[in-house]
C-alpha cells in the first residue's frame, strides 16, 4: 500500500520528465544559437498541443501523423517569427528579450481569439492502462513516455552524429570561428530555431491527450523549461536531460503530497541552484 503511494508519483514523474526533456532541449538549442532565452517557447508548446487537438481530436487524423504535422507546423511558425522578429534584433540582449515577451503575448492572445479561452480536453488516443506492482499507468502516458524517449534519442544522434548537428554545436560554441570555417550562420540559425520550436511543439502534442489544452498553458511551461535548463546548467544538453527528469519527479511528488503549491517548485529550483551551485548540475563554469 505505502509502496504504491511512493511508486505511483515516481512513474508519473518519469513520464513527465522525459517529455520535459524535449521542451528543455528545444529551449537549449535556441539559447545556444541566439544566446538569449526565447520567451515565447511555451507558446510554441501550446501551438503544438492545439495542432494535435484539432488534427487528431477533431479531424480524426492518425495520432502519429498529427504529431509529425505539429512539428512541421510549429517549426514553420517559429522560423517565420525568427525571420521577422528575432533576426532584426541582431542578438542584442534587451531587444531580444522584449521581442520575446511581445511574441509570447501576441501568440497567447491570438490563440485565445482563435481557439477560445476555455480549457479543452482531448479524447484519449490510447485506451486502457498498464499496471505492475499495483502501480497504474494509462496507455496514453506510456505512449507519451515512449515517444519522448525515442525523440530524445533521435535529437541526441542528430546533434552529436550528423554534420548539421555538429555545425549547430560549432555555432553555439563560437560564432565567429564557425563562420570562418565556412558554416552558413544564417542557415544554421534558422534550422536551429525551427528545431527548437518543433521540439516544443511536439512536446505539446505529446501532452495534449493527457492534460487540458488551453491558450494560457505556455507561461507555466516556459517557466518549467527555464528551471530545467538552469538546474541542468545553461547550454548543457546532458544537463537538460537530467534536469528534466528531476523536475518531472519532484513536481509529481509535490503534486501528490502538497497539491497546488507544487506550482512554485520551478521557481524554488531556480533560486536554490543560484544560491548553491550557480553553474547548474552539469554546466561548465562561465
Amino acid at each position: 500500500m505505502t509502496l504504491e503511494i511512493l511508486l505511483q508519483p515516481l512513474i508519473y514523474g518519469l513520464q513527465l520528465g522525459v517529455t520535459y526533456i524535449l521542451l528543455a532541449l528545444g529551449l537549449t538549442v535556441i539559447f545556444s544559437i541566439m544566446n538569449v532565452i526565447n520567451l515565447a517557447h511555451g507558446e510554441f508548446y501550446m501551438l503544438g498541443a492545439f495542432t494535435v487537438f484539432y488534427i487528431n481530436g477533431l479531424l480524426r487524423v492518425n495520432y502519429f501523423l498529427a504529431l509529425i504535422i505539429s512539428v512541421v507546423v510549429v517549426a514553420a511558425i517559429g522560423i517565420f517569427f525568427e525571420r521577422i522578429f528575432f533576426r532584426p534584433a541582431r542578438g542584442q540582449v534587451v531587444p531580444t528579450v522584449i521581442v520575446g515577451i511581445g511574441l509570447m503575448w501576441l501568440l497567447q492572445t491570438a490563440a485565445q481569439l482563435i481557439f477560445g479561452a476555455q480549457p479543452r480536453g482531448m479524447k484519449e488516443v490510447f485506451q486502457g492502462t498498464v499496471s505492475f506492482l499495483n502501480v497504474n499507468l494509462s496507455d496514453s502516458r506510456v505512449a507519451a513516455g515512449i515517444i519522448s524517449i525515442i525523440l530524445v534519442g533521435g535529437i541526441y544522434l542528430f546533434i552529436y552524429k550528423t554534420k548539421l548537428g555538429k555545425a549547430l554545436q560549432a555555432v553555439a560554441q563560437d560564432r565567429e570561428a564557425a563562420m570562418s570555417l565556412g558554416i552558413d550562420i544564417g542557415k544554421v540559425g534558422t534550422i536551429g530555431f525551427g528545431l527548437g520550436c518543433g521540439l516544443a511543439g511536439v512536446a505539446g502534442g505529446i501532452m495534449a491527450p493527457i492534460f487540458f489544452v488551453e491558450p494560457t498553458m505556455g507561461t507555466t511551461t516556459l517557466i518549467k523549461s527555464m528551471s530545467i535548463i538552469i538546474l541542468g546548467g545553461v547550454g548543457s544538453i546532458p544537463g537538460a536531460a537530467l534536469g528534466g527528469l528531476i523536475l518531472g519527479i519532484v513536481e509529481s511528488y509535490g503534486q501528490t503530497f502538497l497539491g497546488y503549491s507544487a506550482t512554485t517548485f520551478p521557481f524554488l529550483i531556480i533560486l536554490l541552484v543560484l544560491i548553491f551551485k550557480r553553474t547548474g548540475l552539469m554546466g561548465r563554469a562561465a
Binding site: I101, G102, W105, A110, M226, S227, I230, T264, I270
Partner: protein, 330 residues
C-alpha cells in the same frame, strides 16, 4: 544654459498646474478615474524604466505591485492597521523581496535575472491565490474602506471618499515617486547605472560594484512598484490575483519601449499615449493585447529611442536648420 533651465521650469510649472486642474477640466468621474489609473501606470512605467537604466529587463514588475497592493489591503482589512502605515509597510516589503531576489539573481551575469523575475511574477500570483487567510484566495480582498482621513488639529481634515480626493492623493504620491526616481537617475548614481548599461565589463574594471548598483536600482524600482500597487488598491477598493499578471508586466515594458528610455518623460509619455490608445480600442477590447504586442515589438525593433528619442531628433533637426540663420542675425 540658464535660458534652457528657465524654459524647463516654466514647462514643469505649466504641467503641474494642468495636473492640478484636471478634476476641474474633466468633470466626468469616469474620465477622472481613467486619468487616475494613467497616473498609477505612469508611476509603474517609470519604476520599470528606473530598473532598465542598468540594462536589466524585469518581467515580474506586476508581481511587486501585487505585493504592495495585497499587503496594504490585508493589513487594513484583517489587522486594522492605518492606511498610511500600511502603505509604508507594503512598500518596504516589496523592497525587501526585491533585495533578496536581486541579491540571489544579479550576482551572476546572464539570463538568470530575467528568468527569475518572470517566474517570481507568476509565483506571487499563485501564492496570493492559494493563501486564504489573510489574502482571500482566488476571491481576493474586497470592500476596502477608503484611506484614512488626514486630520491636522485645529486647521482642517482631508477625507478620501470622493474620486476627486483620490485623484489628488494619487497625484501626490505619483509625483513624489517619479521625482525621486528622476532625481536619482540624474545623480551620480544614475550615471553609474548608465555606465553599467552601456559597458558593464568596463564599469567592473574601474572598480564599480556593478552587482550592488544593479540590486539598488531593482530595490528602488520595486519599492515604487509596491507603491503603485497600493495606490491601485486604494483607488479600486479591492484586489484579486488577476489584478497583476504577467500581462501587466508586459504593459509596463510597452510604456517604456514606446516612450523611450532617454529620460523620465519617456515612460510617462508612453503610459499616456498607450492608455489613451487603450481607451480608443475599448470597443474591440479583445484585440487590444494583439495591437499592444505588435506595438511593443515594433517599438523595440524600429523606434530605438522611443517617442522621446523621436522628439529629440526632431528638435535637433530644427536647431540645425535654424541655427545658421540666428547666427547670421547676430
Amino acid at each position: 544654459m540658464s535660458r534652457l533651465t528657465l524654459k524647463k521650469t516654466v514647462l514643469c510649472v505649466v504641467l503641474f498646474v494642468i495636473l492640478l486642474l484636471i478634476p476641474v477640466l474633466f468633470r466626468n468621474l469616469y474620465h477622472l478615474g481613467i486619468i487616475t489609473f494613467m497616473l498609477i501606470n505612469a508611476l509603474l512605467a517609470v519604476s520599470c524604466w528606473f530598473i532598465m537604466a542598468t540594462g536589466q529587463v524585469t518581467l515580474g514588475h506586476a508581481g511587486f505591485a501585487a505585493i504592495g497592493g495585497y499587503l496594504s489591503a490585508a493589513l487594513i482589512s484583517k489587522y486594522a492597521i492605518g492606511s498610511w502605515w500600511s502603505l509604508l509597510i507594503a512598500m518596504l516589503t516589496a523592497g525587501m523581496v526585491a533585495l533578496i531576489i536581486g541579491y540571489i539573481t544579479l550576482r551572476i551575469k546572464g539570463i538568470y535575472f530575467i528568468v527569475a523575475t518572470l517566474a517570481l511574477g507568476e509565483v506571487i500570483r499563485v501564492i496570493f491565490g492559494a493563501w486564504d487567510d489573510p489574502f482571500g484566495g482566488l476571491i481576493g480582498i474586497m470592500n476596502l474602506p477608503p484611506p484614512d482621513t488626514i486630520i491636522i488639529p485645529g486647521l482642517f481634515s482631508i477625507k478620501f471618499v470622493s474620486k476627486v480626493s483620490l485623484y489628488y492623493l494619487t497625484l501626490l504620491f505619483t509625483m513624489i515617486g517619479i521625482i525621486v526616481m528622476h532625481r536619482l537617475n540624474r545623480s551620480p548614481i544614475g550615471l553609474v547605472f548608465q555606465g553599467i548599461r552601456q559597458a558593464d565589463d568596463l564599469a567592473e574594471n574601474v572598480g564599480i560594484n556593478i552587482m550592488g548598483y544593479k540590486v539598488l536600482a531593482f530595490v528602488i524600482g520595486c519599492i515604487f512598484a509596491g507603491m503603485g500597487g497600493v495606490l491601485y488598491t486604494y483607488n479600486v477598493g479591492s484586489i484579486q490575483p488577476s489584478s497583476f499578471t504577467l500581462v501587466q508586466s508586459a504593459y509596463y515594458l510597452v510604456y517604456v519601449a514606446v516612450g523611450g528610455g532617454a529620460n523620465v518623460f519617456g515612460p510617462i509619455l508612453g503610459a499616456l499615449v498607450l492608455n489613451i490608445l487603450s481607451e480608443f480600442l475599448r470597443p474591440v477590447k479583445e484585440f487590444e493585447p494583439i495591437v499592444f504586442a505588435l506595438i511593443l515589438i515594433g517599438a523595440v525593433l524600429l523606434l530605438q529611442g522611443g517617442l522621446v528619442g523621436l522628439v529629440q531628433a526632431l528638435w535637433r533637426r530644427i536647431h540645425e536648420i535654424a541655427a545658421p540663420i540666428s547666427e547670421r542675425a547676430i
